[in-house]
Subunit: 217 residues, 3 copies
Amino acid sequence: MTVAATAIIHPHVHLGEAAQVEDYVILGVVPQAGTDQELETHIGRSATIRSHTVIYAGNRIGDGFQTGHHVLIREANRIGDQVSIGSGSRIEHHVTIASRVRLHSNVFVPEYTVLEEGCWLGPGVVLTNCLHPLCPQAKRCLKGPRIGAGAIIGAHATILPSLIIGERALVGAGAVVTRDVEPGMVVVGPQAAPLKRMDELTCQYGLMDHPYPGLKT
Amino acid sequence: MTVAATAIIHPHVHLGEAAQVEDYVILGVVPQAGTDQELETHIGRSATIRSHTVIYAGNRIGDGFQTGHHVLIREANRIGDQVSIGSGSRIEHHVTIASRVRLHSNVFVPEYTVLEEGCWLGPGVVLTNCLHPLCPQAKRCLKGPRIGAGAIIGAHATILPSLIIGERALVGAGAVVTRDVEPGMVVVGPQAAPLKRMDELTCQYGLMDHPYPGLKT
Amino acid sequence: MTVAATAIIHPHVHLGEAAQVEDYVILGVVPQAGTDQELETHIGRSATIRSHTVIYAGNRIGDGFQTGHHVLIREANRIGDQVSIGSGSRIEHHVTIASRVRLHSNVFVPEYTVLEEGCWLGPGVVLTNCLHPLCPQAKRCLKGPRIGAGAIIGAHATILPSLIIGERALVGAGAVVTRDVEPGMVVVGPQAAPLKRMDELTCQYGLMDHPYPGLKT
């Protein structure tokens, strides 16, 4: 294990073997609205936590975890194995992230989001969980999106609350998704209109027949 | 008052009682284009300044101020009471923020913006203040938007320079606002077209008649 | 040269005269997939590296370099003179940035991007370099956009991979650019449709005949 001298590790943090924790990282921050209960933080083997990252207490994170720089992960999340969170991304609390999920840089993930196995979120993606902010009942209906297994959310896309993005769907860069997306569908534009099916995509560089061969049925 | 050992507090910073300043925070940074005058920084009572946040000198901030992590606040802003600035948000200089304003994560607020009482900016919102960047006269016409009292700017929206968003209007997530928005209007999409009035919104979860009851006239 | 006591400068970093390095900066981080070769980092004269910024090893940066706060610059980039990278922006590796380029806050620049002389990227701009993420051949076709000399990319715009934005073109705020943009053209909206030519823009404040006088032919 390699922990930089300037890293601050609060009590009740359990770091697996071969972890690397870089400078100015803070691990195990107790949430302000904390309970009396001591919040344990578990991070699996071979983690790399890059500089200036902040991870709250009460997370349970699998093996092979990686963060970029300046990442924020709030409390009470469940994160699988081989997950990567890009630089500048912010994960709120009570988020479920399955194994092999990758978030690129500057992504925002609100509370009660579910990211399924191996999905990919591009740089600058913003997910949301509240249809009517400032509504006096807003806390009763917070619900993030569910991003299906292997789905790809293009750079800078916006996903409205509680929507379901189907397995292996692709949301185009800059799209604004305002309704559910069917599995294996490519959607683009300001209302995320269906464009084609994933198995109809072709490689414009001629490197292969099809960029997602596993989808071909 | 609780100030972390690694927090750096420059001279002329006045922190009110019961302030909490977390690790790797820097308060009272003197702007490079500084004047001869010593810039005082006032932060009111019960502030919580979370880790890795940077606040410049020359700010006057009210009581109950909160920042998330990795926040930047430049010089010469006027900020009211009970204001919250989310993680990763950047506030430029000469911004006016009234009381009870809340900015979520990763918001960008340029110089000469006005945020009125109790307005709400969602994650990833970008405001602008310059119609023609690189114009040799650009510094003479910089003007940020004015966001009216109680207005809601949905996640990831973009607001063009100098626009006025009326009181208690709602800008949909991902919208690009290219003209003024009337008070109490809901606008959506790539040109922020009017969709309906705020008092026509309904709760899709059946939790209440109307998400913004104070608006019902 | 002024280097803050908390700044961490790794070996093989060469800082020119009159550099200012602020608190909690880290310079010369060796990439994980490092080579046996020692990576030299060169930063020219009169650099200002603001707090919490991270710059990897293997960069070659000109004179007058400025970063905002919380910036990330990965390895193996070539950066000219008088370049400014705004707060919270992230530059990946193998990026070419010519002299006098300015990136505003929270910009994302992927690997293999080319930013030509004096171009300007507004706050929250996201460039991309991969048309089909998760494609097994994706690493073979990564190609960022090329932003022409003097081009202006408006706030919060999204640029798709490998596109060419012509010299002194202007991409409107919030636009999503899905095909090449001709030199001197103004494009706006969710498919970045051509709106007019740069030399047809007028100053709405009456401060001058034309915001981009050098363009008038």
